[in-house]
Each structure stands twice: as C-alpha cells, then as structure tokens.
Homo-oligomer: 432 residues x 2
C-alpha cells in the first residue's frame, strides 16, 4: 500500500472530526484511495490545550515551518479559520507544491481569487467542499455532477443556526430572543451570533456557490444581505395563514447572463421541499435546464459532517490522476463574464406588515400610493389585532414587483399621516 | 478548442435528451470539458422512424460496425436498453478502447461484473450515473463525495411510477387501479407496468446502489422484492391514523459486514424527509458514519433529467486526466466481501391487517400465537369497519421483530378458526 503524509492546520471542531474519521474509517479510506494516509503534523496555537481526541504529542506543533518545509508532506488541510494567517499559509504551501483542502468560507468568499490562481499556476489541487453546507456534497455536486446543465436558479438554506431558530419560532411559537437563546444553549449559535443571524455566514456561502454554479467570480460584496432579527412571531402567524413558511434563503438566479444574488428571510410555500427542512439541517435546491428540480439535504455543520467533506476532498486528491509524488499540472479555470444585478432590479412578491390608524380610508390611501408605483396587491388582511386604542395592524401581500418600486412606495407610505409604522417587509418566493 | 467524436447507441427517450442537451448547452459543455463534442454516429433500429428531434440523416445508422470500427470515436453512449445486443456492443467497444457511458440498469444489475471487469482490463472509463434515479447524481455522490464514510443505511424512493401511484392514493384517496390508470395516462407508467409496480425496476437500482455503497458486487437476485399491488385504500387510511405514510422503499443496511437488501412497501413517519417526496420525484436518503443523514432529491426519469446524467458522465470522461487520444489505464476495483442476509433474518416493525370473526377472545388467541413467536404488539385497532354480518377488521402494529418470527406466527394465525384472512402485512421503518 502506498503511503501519503498530510498535515492539518487546526485541531478545533473540524480538525478533530477529520482526525477521528481518518482513524475510524482507515480501512475504507485505504480501499477507496489506494493510500494509507498518515497525519504527519498538526498545527495549533496552544500545544498544551487539553483536547478530547487522542493525538500523539510529537505531531502537534505551533511552528508552521514544520509543515511548510517538510517536502514529504503532500497535502495540507486548512481548518484553522480566519483570514490571516490562513491565507498566507495556504499560499506558501501551494508555492511548495502542496495540495490544499480548506473549509474556510470567509477567506474563499473575500479573497478566493488569489488562492485559486495560485493553485492553477502551481498545478496543485485546491478543494473546498467543507466550506459550504458542511457534509452536503454540494460543491462536488455542482462541479462534477451538474456539468451538463445551465443552472438557472439556486436556493439554499445554508445556515443551520438561523434555520434552527426559525424552526423553533414556527413550530413551537417561540419568539426570536428565546429561540436564539435555545440555539446558544444547544451549541448551534455562538456567544456572538452576529455572523449567523445577520446573514453574513450565508452571504459567504452564496458567494462561493454562485461562483461555481455560474462559472464566474463573485465577491461577497456583490451579494445583497438581510438577517432574521426582525422576524416576529406575528409574522410567523401570518405566514401560516397564507400557507407559507419563513426561511433564511440564499438565492441566486441567472437570466441572459445577468445574476441576482441575495440572502434574506423569505416566505415560501409550505409544500415546497425547502419548507420541510427543519432544525439545524441545511439544503440546497437547484433548477438546472436539463436536470430540472434537484435538492441536496443534510447536516450543514458539526465536527463529523464537516470532517466528512474534508476527508472526501483528501481522497479526491489521492484518486485524481494527479501524481502525488511529482509535478502535474491541474488546470480548470474557464470563467464567464456575468453582470450582477443591483437588488433594486430584483423582483419578488412582498409581505408588508404595518401599524395604521384605525380609521376609514387608510387602505385606500395606501393602495393609491402602491398603484402609483406599479405595485398591485394580491391580498390584504386588515382585521389584525389592535395594538392600542386607535391603531390596527394591516398586512398586505403584493404581486410580483421590482424592489425599486416597492422601496419608493414604502418611502411614501411611511410618510402618510394614517400610517404609524411599517413593521416588517418580507419577500415571498413561490418558485414560479 | 480540442474536439472529441462520440457515438450514441439509441435515440429513444434518453438518446433524444442527450442530443438536445449536447446542442442547447454546447457552450457550457465546451467551457467545462475543454472539448467540443461532436456526435459522429447514432445507432437505431429503424432509420426511417419519424423523430421529434432534428438530427442530420447522415449520422444515423443501423450498422453497429460504423461505430465500432471508427477509431476516431472515443466515447460510446449506450442508451438502447435491454440485455442483448447492448451487452455485446459495449464489450466490443471497450475492446477497441472506447470509453462507455450507459443508462442500462437492467444489464448492470444482472450482468454488470463482466462490464466492469472489461473496463478495468482495457483501462477505459465506464460511467453509469443515469442508470439509477435519472438526474439525481447519486452514483457520483456515493462514489466521489461520501468516500470518507462507512455508509450504514440507504433508503431510496427510486421508482417514479410507484411513487406517483402511492401519492395519488395517499393524497387524493384513489384506489390502486385508478391511480395506476392515471399514471399510464400521464405517461409515467408503461402499458405493461409490471416492472415498476412489482418492484423489479427498484430492485435493479438497489443492486447497483448497494454494490457501490458497500464496495461489493450485488446481483439483483440477492435483493428481496415486493411490489405495491396489494396496497389498499384502507391501508392508506390506517397509515394516516398512525401518522405514517406508505412508500415503496429500496432499503440497504450494513452491520458487521453483513448486508440487508430489500425492496418493499414501507410505512414511514410523516415527518421524515422521504415522506415528503411526492408524485414522480425520487429521493435517496443515506446515513453515513461521518456525514450523518443526507438526502438527494430530484427527477428520477425523463428525457432531459436522464440526459443530464448521461452528459455529465461524458464530461467527466473528458475532464478526467485520462488521455482521450491515447491509452491510459484507469483502475479502481477494490472490493469487500460481504455476507448478504436472508430476508428471514431481517428485522422490522410490522403492520398487520386481518379480517376476523366478530366474537370475543379473538384478540387473545392471536396475541397468544404472536407471543409464542416473540412478537410483541405496540398497538391494536379492533374497531375496524364491519366487512359482513359476522366479521370485523383488526389492525395490529408490532414492535421490532425478525421476519422469520413474523412469518411463523402469521402461518399459525392464518389457520386459527377465528381468523378469516390476513389482508395485508406492511413493514414499518422508523429510521431508529
Ligand atoms: N465548525 C463547523 O461546523 C464548520 C463547518 C464548516 C466550515 N467550518 C470552517 O472550518 C474552519 C475551522 O472551524 P472550527 O469550528 O474547527 O474552528 P475552531 O474550533 O476555532 O478551531 C480552530 C483551530 O485552528 C487553530 N488555530 C487558529 N488560529 C491559529 C493560528 N494562527 N496558528 C495556529 N493554529 C491556529 C486553533 O488552535 P488551538 O486549538 O490551539 O486554539 C484550533 O485548533 C473555519 O474556517 C470554519 O469556518 C466550520
Ligand atoms: N426513459 C427514462 O426516463 C430512463 C431513465 C433512466 C434510465 N433509462 C434507461 O435508458 C435506456 C434507454 O431508455 P429509453 O427510454 O430511451 O428507451 P427507448 O425510448 O425505447 O429507446 C431505445 C432506443 O434504442 C434503439 N435500439 C433499441 N434496440 C436496438 C438495437 N438492437 N439496435 C439498434 N438500436 C436499438 C431504438 O431504436 P429505434 O428508435 O429505431 O426503435 C431507440 O432509439 C434503458 O436502458 C433504460 O432503462 C431510461
């Protein structure tokens, strides 16, 4: 049996999962890759930290050069996270002809180009399945299995924490704060949950997914983003009334070479497969022009699921015809040019919840403004509960509308005397 | 741009889909594969058959030798179906160093070994993504993306016709015959629907999937099979009462190197992701020891979805480091030995529906027999509707039980004087 020496940079959640899988599934990995995989070095910050996996002390190091300068190490797995020094370390390793596996979504979404270019120019493999949706093989799915397709639409539930929170709000009637607290107690949400609940994590992942799906380079700044902090229990109730469910969706659509890229809370029909993705599960739903509707569902995070993706990436390198011992160019870098639409050009149906004065003629005033901005209504619920003596809640659902139009209309409506406050605006996606 | 010449054998449902995709997505395919794909020849039975795709007359042929003997044809796509001459043609093409893409589940499940061995010995690629679950990339998923895992369990809804029928029975309350008729009218079921409704088609697919998932060779005869023809509306109703849903599942489980392989109607919890797979959609649910729960969902048949899988297989050949022009060995053939359990050793919970005499003591007699065979009951519904003056329906749900025990018990129960007939027995899977 051939042997290959690899190194891990990081022995946190994901690193430990990788270590455990390499050990417990050693036989399977040998059969499938043709290699015995030996972890030669593991880079950490603190050598003395107690760790709940048994790793021989002598392979743990805090010195990156132990990995970089060891030419017998052919594959380096970056699971340390953060921008620097992860970026610098990977670039240096590639310069030394080491193949890379990474789980680092933040780095890929913000400075990925440089890494891909380095990999291309050095002829090394650069795999990143674990960076999006943990154990779900969506990167490989798009990159290897859907190659016959023009991908037209992609909808992802790619953040487990927010999906857990929304599930609790939907099924158990919890309000946002309590659901968030539960997610933190369960270990799904971090002490500072901003990256999850404000949609940054999903934004990174959509940048990576859509770059691949549409064969172009998407920077995270091109992705419109809105989090879930403004979703109220009452919105959940209205959604239910309309037979809809609220999910944080990462959405990418292509038409005529133009892309629409956005992350926001979205109301979707209860019967849609994405509506049945509960708890911390992730799913990615794709429409391809040949394959039609396709969905991948599974665990988007966690030590072992994410480790599964990392280890499969290692095996892919070993099974590729890339010669691990010697140089061998790997090139695939055929990009399209794509125009990215501004969110203002994007179209949706909208759910609008407002507090208005309890007096006649309010609806007429509002619809007049909407009409002037080409926004037509699908339904109105006015009998909403009273907030106070003289105010009522009103809920409007529009037909398909340009964001620019709705924004202009909302601006005017906010200034109407009869309107106290626009409480919430949530986009509706009916997949048609 | 490099050019590659390929041939199709067959221009039916799937062949037409392949032709259309190669044309409509030509640019994407060029970018992704690095090749311009030219269809040099298409083999059919009848040259003069009118076809609803526009194919230049001069590339259509009825002479297989036009393909075999043309050494400029590097890839042959077999979408003619049937055992012979498909088998002979593929073997001959591989002998001439042509790579193969096939959608032929029947042939793979019954005589696949010979084809894989030939591919190995000739160093050509042999891809068969389209043979299972049409457009869903489950073959690639298992073979490339889940390589880090021991796959412990696999549950598939892999036949669209039966899933359509069961959906109609479940949601619209149709009985089997009418649902089948609708499936035929819609073009989902063939004039002779035996292969679908008796579970043969699912049996082929499970043989292929489990061979791959467990790294061994499964012949279709090792897969236990039961179709859906015995499912009655009343069973659907009882399932609903228990919060269960009836699906035709292809099930494979591994433990301690032993495999359980079976296709049968199965009651599953309504909240399980597989329970929400409706109409003619397919899905495969997998439990891996690293990745956890994973599901792939999509179109299991049809011209374009199946064509999507075929064309992706073609692109995979072009993108592999296999040198299309010259010889290049491709070897991956590391098999495990696995013992396959007899269905008698398999364990399930069971739903049993029987007609019994409307007299006291019947339940006691039945449970005594069950108890003697180690079958314990989880619930009983006796208040079933009367069939006639002196008979009632009784429904039993057991705890987990060996098939051998349930069979022995049922045999005795059938002979009880107070029992008129065992109307139906359906296995229950709760994924625990
Ligand atoms: N957690 C998940 O479920 C998940 C899922 C998908 C992707 N990811 C991605 O995977 C990566 C790792 O995530 P994680 O959750 O495993 O992180 P983590 O638990 O914080 O672990 C980070 C590890 O990297 C080491 N490390 C960090 N900075 C270092 C430095 N400057 N020098 C040396 N070692 C350093 C740490 O060493 P010490 O142990 O000594 O502190 C630790 O072992 C991130 O990019 C994350 O986005 C995570
Ligand atoms: N249909 C699906 O959705 C689907 C999905 C997954 C897999 N598959 C598999 O794909 C394969 C093809 O299915 P299909 O539905 O496309 O079948 P089909 O519509 O019956 O087409 C078969 C084609 O093969 C040609 N052919 C058959 N026998 C031949 C022979 N002896 N010599 C030359 N040509 C011959 C026929 O020629 P003529 O046109 O001249 O009759 C026809 O063009 C089968 O293995 C099937 O199991 C099908």
């Amino acid at each position: 049996m051939k042997k290959v020496r690899i190194a891990l940079m990081g022995l946190g959640n994901v690193g430990k999962g990788v270590w455990m899988i390499l050990n417990s599934n050693k036989k399977e990995i040998m059969k499938r890759s043709g290699y015995e995989v030996e972890v030669a070095k593991i880079l950490v910050r603190d050598k003395n930290k107690p760790r709940d996996v048994e790793v021989p002390g002598e392979i743990i190091t805090t010195n990156f050069n132990d990995i970089l300068e060891d030419d017998s190490i052919k594959i380096v797995v970056e699971v340390m996270g953060g921008l620097e020094p992860a970026r610098e370390y990977m670039l240096k390793c590639m310069d030394r002809k080491k193949h890379i596996v990474t789980a680092n979504k933040m780095l890929l979404a913000t400075g990925g180009d440089e890494l891909f270019e380095k990999a291309d120019s050095m002829g090394v493999m650069f795999n990143y399945e674990a960076s999006v949706a943990g154990g779900i093989p969506i990167i490989n799915g798009i990159d290897e299995s859907l190659t016959a397709n023009k991908i037209e639409e992609l909808y992802g539930i790619v953040n487990g924490t927010t999906n857990y929170i929304l599930t609790k709000m939907q099924l158990d009637g919890l309000n946002f704060d309590i659901a968030l607290k539960q997610a933190q107690d369960k270990g799904y949400a971090e002490a500072d949950p901003t990256s999850d609940i404000e949609g940054f994590d999903a934004q990174y992942k959509l940048a990576i997914l859509s770059s691949l799906a549409f064969g172009t380079k998407i920077n995270v700044n091109n992705v419109y983003r809105e989090g879930i902090t403004k979703i109220k229990s009452v919105d959940m109730k209205y959604a239910k009334k309309f037979n809809l469910v609220i999910k944080l969706l990462a959405i990418a659509k292509e038409s005529d070479g133009e892309l629409e890229l956005k992350v926001h809370p979205t109301m979707i029909p209860k019967e849609h497969p994405l509506a049945n993705v509960y708890d911390s599960f992730n799913a990615i739903f794709i429409k391809g022009n040949a394959v039609g509707d396709l969905m991948f569902y599974g665990r988007g995070a966690g030590s072992l699921p994410t480790g599964s993706a990392v280890v499969s990436d290692i095996i892919a390198i070993l099974r590729s015809n890339v010669d691990i011992e010697n140089d061998n160019p790997v090139v695939k870098n055929n990009l399209w040019h794509r125009k990215i639409k501004n969110i203002e050009e994007s179209q949706s149906k909208f759910y609008i919840r407002a507090t208005v004065l309890d007096q006649p003629g309010v609806l007429a005033e509002i619809t007049t403004v909407l009409g002037r901005h080409n926004v037509s209504l699908r339904s109105v619920i006015q009998r909403g509960s009273k907030n106070s003596e003289c105010e009522v809640m009103i809920v409007l659902v529009t037909h398909k509308t340009m964001e620019a139009d709705i924004n202009a209309a909302i601006k005017e409506i906010t200034n109407l005397k009869c309107v106290d406050k626009i409480e919430n605006i949530i986009r509706i996606e009916d997949f048609k």
